[in-house]
Amino acid sequence: MSSDLDVFVGNTTLIDEEVYRLWLDGHSVAEAVARRLRGGVLEREGTSVAVLQSDTRDHYRTFQMLERLLHAPPRLLQQLLFQIPPERQALLVQRYYAFDEALARELLGKKLSKGTKKELDEVSARTGVGIRSCRRQFDNFKRVFKAVEELRGPLAENIQQLFLLDYAAIVFFANSRFETGKRRLQFLSFADFAACAQSMMGHWSQGALGEPPDPRAPEAAEPDGDLPKSFLQDLKELKVLVADKDLLDQHKSLVCSALRGKISVYNELEANFKALSRALVNVGGKLTHARDVRDFFVDLVEKVIEPCRSDKWSPGDLRLFLTHYTAARHQALWERYMAAITACLLRMYHD
């Protein structure tokens, strides 16, 4: 006796979190049933494999029907087909757009193109994320990227509005195309990059100035995913700090006097100050050129983090240094620039 047709429809759509996870992970019905069996549901509920199969199939069907709506989360709120309590809707969206950090780390800064999609097999093998899940997540990235591409206004808010969640870091990276794949950068996790992206957007983007963007300003027309051009242009002015020897010396003496006796690596600091300062300032100066933007993280690692690490700076030392390094000059542009750089460096300074 076989059941040809077997459906269960509730007035309130039943969402089983466990099955949803299995579905999101890209398991087939049979795999999902096997995993649920291993989870011991049979013993707990005293039911049969047939029941479990039927239940899993029902949920899978529901998810497949929901997937179309999940592609545009605000529609999920308006649609009439499935009656789902708001907190469940939120859960559906959150889980659907949640990503594996390992995968996100791989995709950071890559062009979300067909070519990249073809490489997903390797990515899947490297990260241990199922290929179907990889594809879904890749499509998610792409969908979010595409949707906000054309929009104006703060990136994070746009994404929040359209997809009801925080996806900004990935889009920001995809937009700016930072190099993240170099061997040097392998020690950095996705979370590190996401935190950096957040600081950069937080401190540098147009919305971060605390005033509504001037609609006449050229930046207002730009998507928020790009850093404001005028800001980047202004950063070039900072070069004078390292180009002018007097200024550099003055800066050095201010910082060194403030740190003497407070920092364990004082000698090394004194020796390296000029090199460090040059690196810190030049990183910003290069941001106007798209090709140099790519090297932002590489430069930070190569020219700041690695030297410090070889001199055995503690994170505390780095923090103290950066605080005083920033405080030694009073200039809004400088402080705005250094706030993000400090946050990034402190986040990245680990093994």
């Binding site: 006796m1 459906v7 039911t47 087909l81 009656q83």
Partner: protein
């Protein structure tokens, strides 16, 4: 009389892309009513068009208003070729035609297409202006209210219950062989949907006219069905119960009614001589001045006064209990005469109601049913559907005569159904024979004193169980005993009914869903030969279904079935029978005997061993079930020693004298006595299989209960969390050489697995009860069985449930908690009616007593239990009255004190309300339930009937996820469309929801499938009881407060 229908098309959203080139749509809307069509402008290049049209006005007479649906078609404009239809919305404007229902229909409706399903939504506003108010009832039946609910709707009071109304209309089916025909399926299915919509409008209007003729103003328990007779046509038929309903105006009619008795109660302490008339208006006019009211304050008080005399603890009540018993007989005949006079002018004294106002149901005789097998022929003249009318008339006549044989003049819980296969049709009707209180059927025809006496003859807790037929001239062999509750009237050993458990019934333990399942092979045959063979099989099936039910009932240690529904389905090569009912233990009926197996070959030792093994298994199952369903009836006291109360002794004496005269009583006292046991003879392997199958029914997993009635006997503390669902399964019962046994087993497994799967799906709701479990079986093809289940899972509060478990008889309270009107009366019933309905805590004590004496042998235990319970009953009763008085006092001041509390409450209310708003969900939640109520909520308004019919078809079955994917989407769409219509009427729930038809056909070779679904229900507005309490300003909300607090005290 004419009316003006006004329609405005506001906007659309999420429309499908109709122009591939631009990925956009140029949409416009056609609005059609009758023969008039209006069009909106084309809104170019948008998937979210904003038409914001003018008001389209249709001037029509109200006959048309009733018959026609409003048709809204959304199209894509195409300059060069024909415009493409995107989809349609049918709106039944009937709810706008009666004054008390909805005033406007406004909201987002899913745009539906038979091929593509839901394709976006459209926002529409519909209004109706009816002219000439004075005359508008003449020509049409505008204004007659329709309810699917099979009880008197919650915010109404039944002035008169007139009785049965029926009507049928026939037409040719525009599409009867969909898959083979050349015309596009969409066109013919559109035509079909339109036609059925039109026919049901016409049918409703005709029924309404009949109601007006009877001087009623409403139809309750309205059930409309379609018979798809294939080539011979399409029949739409409906039955219902005509009533005159009065809207309960919450405050004015209500508060005095509940306040005055409560005052009296405070003043009158419990004394030795409770005057039965204290609570009614006065001794001289006890009842006459009260038109029958559903508002239970009156009816309950009346009832309680009578039951007082029956069972009160005091012997000095004027009318001795013994005399009442003696007079019972004559009264019964008197009553019968009265009822007869009230009913005899009616052709069919049938009532589609399953729940009745208290006091309405006097006695219940048992289930009556009739079936007939007919050969369908083409309906030649659709205007004269005489043949079909005659068929039904014949069956109804049979039902009527069956009822008469049971000494009853009426049939309640009446329903009709058909099963069609090719040109053979089985027509079935069933109901419960009953004796009714004529007071409800006619206005003021009864003498007050007579009524008083009638009521004496039937105490509410057990009266309906008392046999209506003549003991010496019984219509069928039955064991009669004296009622275990009142000891005065005879009751049968088991009772089968099609109605819901009466509110006042005294039940022990919990109920459970009981099903009998049966397959019978039949030879494929044509026409008359086929009909004959089916007719020949039917009686055997009925018998077997009955036997199965009886066995399963006994296996659960129960003695009564409610909500019994036997469905016989005909297929090409088999017949299937599925009976569902809710088993309970009625305190008034004797303890059922066990089941005993007897072998036919006693010499064989191994065989004997086998038999005894089976016997043991059965006995174990019975014991286990008794524990599971908490069936611990107080065992009969052999003798009561040293009782401080004289009455019990008197009662026991009475009992003893009875038991002396009647052997049955003593026999039944040995609850597991072999003499009384039901004997199953195992004479062949078939019988063996039957016994095996008896034992295969697994009880639901712990935390689950199920029933097919409105409410689960024995559970009363529902939480507001409900989940209505529909599950459909189609299975192949294929075996190479099918025999009845293998088919039975397959069918049985199919049902059991389906139930198991439901329990698993709903496991997160535990502890919960599946209520109103409604199975429908169809045989779409050879060996294919389709089962559709609709039910609602309701979570209950386990902690409270534990207490409730101890009190076996909280039925009335349980019911009351769902309904404030009833609740109001509750204290009254409690105070004046201590024994017959065994109210709250006393009963609790019964069990506590029992559990504390577990070590004592059964007989002894029984005595002590009874003793303590009597003593406790008395004490707690006094306490209860005090409590009641207090709570009522508290309740009545609550209206004023609540003002002080206003701010925190209002805050709470706001906080509560702000939850959905902050999530910016734009779709309002619509609850759906097959029950007539929503737990923890009060229905404040009925907005009209929802009766919808949809067809869905596909030519790309595989692409849509196969049959399951197709049907899953379709059912979800049907739910969505029902919800949208309810929301547009301003409602937030559908009650008494039912899926009447789900006809699924597939042709996998052609990658095609089609399904047809018909659903109905009542759109309502409900308010959470918690919210009611939080709104102190509204006077109407003050009313339920006393009772809700009273409820807290008693639970």
């Amino acid at each position: 009389m004419p009316g003006k229908l006004k329609v405005k098309i506001v906007a659309g959203r999420h429309l499908p892309v109709m122009d591939r080139a631009s990925d956009l749509t140029d949409a416009f809307v056609e609005v059609k009513f009758g023969n008039t069509t209006f069009k909106t402008d084309v809104y170019p290049k948008s998937l979210n068009p904003q038409w914001n049209s003018e008001w389209f006005k249709f001037e029509v007479d109200d006959e048309e208003l009733q018959d026609e649906p409003l048709q809204i078609t959304v199209l894509d404009h195409d300059t060069y070729s024909a415009n493409d239809a995107i989809g349609k919305v049918y709106i039944d404007i009937d709810p706008l035609l009666y004054s008390e229902a909805a005033t406007v229909i406004s909201g987002w409706f899913p745009i539906y297409d038979t091929i593509h399903g839901i394709r976006g939504e459209i926002n529409v506003v519909v209004k109706v202006d009816l002219f000439n108010d004075l005359n508008r009832f003449r020509q049409s039946s505008c204004g007659v209210k329709f309810f699917c609910t099979t009880s008197i709707p919650k915010c109404y009071r039944a002035v008169i219950i007139h009785g049965f109304v029926e009507e049928l209309v026939v037409n040719e089916d525009p599409e009867y062989q969909w898959i083979d025909r050349i015309r596009t399926p969409r066109a013919s299915n559109e035509a079909r949907q339109r036609l059925i919509s039109l026919m049901s409008g016409e049918l409703q209007r005709k029924i309404g006219l009949k109601v007006l003729e009877m001087r009623g103003n409403a139809v309750v328990g309205y059930l409309q069905c379609f018979d798809l007779e294939g080539e011979s046509g399409l029949v739409v038929r409906a039955i219902g119960t005509a009533c005159t309903l009065d809207k309960l105006s919450n405050t004015s009619a209500f508060l005095p009614a509940c306040n005055s008795p409560s005052k009296e109660m405070k003043e009158i302490p419990f004394n030795e001589d409770p005057n039965p008339n204290t609570y009614s208006s006065g001794p001289s006019t006890p009842l006459k001045n009260q038109t029958y009211s559903f508002s239970p304050s009156k009816s309950y008080s009346r009832q309680s006064s009578s039951s007082d005399t029956d069972l009160s603890l005091t012997p000095k009540t004027g009318m001795g209990s013994g005399s009442a018993g003696k007079e019972g007989g004559p009264f019964k005949t008197l009553l019968r005469q009265q009822t007869q006079s009230a009913l005899e002018q009616r052709e069919f004294p049938f009532f589609t109601l399953t729940t009745f106002p208290p006091g309405f149901l006097v006695h219940v005789g048992g289930v009556v049913s009739a079936r007939s097998v007919k050969l369908l022929d083409r309906i030649h003249n659709p205007d004269e559907p005489e043949t079909r009318d005659a068929w039904w008339a014949e069956i109804r006549q049979e039902i009527k005569s069956h009822a008469k044989a049971l000494g009853c003049h009426a049939v309640v819980g009446y329903s009709e159904s058909t099963s069609i296969c090719e040109e053979v049709c089985i027509l079935s009707a069933s109901g419960t024979a009953a004796v009714l209180n004529p007071r409800f059927l006619q206005d003021g025809t009864m003498e007050g004193c007579l009524e008083q006496r009638i009521e004496e003859a039937s105490p509410p807790g057990c009266g309906f169980c008392h046999i209506p037929y003549d003991e010496l001239n019984m219509p069928f062999p039955a064991h009669l005993t004296y009622c275990y509750n009142c000891r005065k009237q005879k009751v049968p050993d088991v009772l089968f009914t099609t109605i819901d458990l009466p509110v006042e019934a005294i039940v022990i333990g919990k109920g459970c869903l009981i099903q009998a399942r049966l397959c019978r092979l039949k030879k494929k045959a044509q026409a008359e030969a086929n009909a004959t063979s089916i007719s020949n099989l039917l009686p055997f099936m009925e018998y077997e279904v009955h036997t199965q039910l009886m066995n399963k009932l006994k296996l659960r240690g129960m003695n009564a079935l409610f909500g019994l529904r036997i469905q016989i389905t005909v297929g090409e090569n088999m017949l299937m029978g599925l009976a569902s009912a809710t088993g309970v233990y009625l305190a008034a009926l004797p303890t059922p005997g066990g089941i005993q197996i007897a072998g036919k070959t006693p010499n064989d030792a191994t065989y004997d061993q086998h038999i005894s093994h089976m016997q043991k298994k059965i006995n174990d199952t019975i014991a286990k079930n008794k524990e599971l369903y908490e069936i611990n009836p107080p065992e009969l006291p052999e003798e009561i020693i040293g009782s401080p109360i004289p009455e019990p002794r008197q009662r026991s004496r009475l009992l003893r004298s009875q038991s002396e005269s009647s052997d049955e009583v003593t026999e039944l006292d040995l609850s597991h006595g072999k003499k009384d046991a039901f004997v199953l003879e195992i004479d062949d392997t078939d019988a063996m299989e039957d016994v095996h199958s008896l034992l295969t029914d697994v009880p639901p997993p712990s935390g689950f209960y199920s029933c097919n009635t409105e409410i689960m006997p024995g559970i009363n503390n529902w939480t507001p969390e409900i989940q209505m669902f529909t599950a459909v399964r189609v299975s192949r019962l294929s075996t190479i050489n099918p025999t009845n046994q293998t088919l039975n087993k397959n069918f049985n497994d199919l049902c059991e697995n389906l139930l198991k799967s439901l329990y698993f799906k709903l496991r997160s709701m535990v502890p919960c009860c599946l209520c109103h479990v409604n199975f429908t079986v169809a045989l779409p093809e050879d060996e294919l069985v389709q089962i559709a289940v609709t039910a609602v899972a309701i979570t209950y509060d386990k902690n409270q449930a534990l207490q409730a478990n101890k009190a076996p008889t909280e039925k009335s309270q349980q019911r009351a908690s769902t309904d404030n009107e009833e609740q109001l009366q509750f204290p009254l019933e409690l105070c004046s009616d201590p024994l017959s309905s065994q109210p709250f805590s006393p009963a609790k004590e019964v069990l506590e007593g029992a559990s504390s004496h577990t070590g004592i042998p059964a007989a002894q235990r029984a005595t002590s239990v009874d003793y303590s319970s009597f003593a406790d009953r008395c004490n707690s009763w006094i306490e209860l009255i005090k409590l009641k008085a207090q709570t009522i006092r508290r309740g009545s001041i609550k209206t004023t004190t609540s003002l002080e509390k206003a701010s925190p409450l209002a805050e709470g209310y706001l906080r509560h309300r702000s939850v959905p708003s902050c999530t910016n969900s734009t779709v309002s939640v619509v609850k759906m339930t097959p029950l007539s109520f929503l737990p923890g909520a009060k229905i404040t308004k009925y907005l009209g009937i929802i009766n919808m019919f949809f067809i869905r078809e596909t030519t790309s079955l595989r692409e849509e996820g196969g049959v399951s994917g197709f049907l899953h989407a379709f059912i979800a769409e049907v739910f969505a469309m029902v919800r949208a219509h309810v929301a547009a009427l301003g409602g937030n729930a559908v009650v008494s929801y039912i899926m009447k038809q789900c006809v699924f056909m597939e042709n996998p070779n052609k990658n095609q499938a089609q399904c047809l679904i018909n659903v109905s229900g009542d759109a309502v507005i409900f308010v959470r009881e918690s919210e009611l309490e939080m709104l102190p300003v509204q006077p109407s909300t003050a009313a339920p407060q006393p009772t809700s607090s009273a409820g807290d005290v008693t639970t």
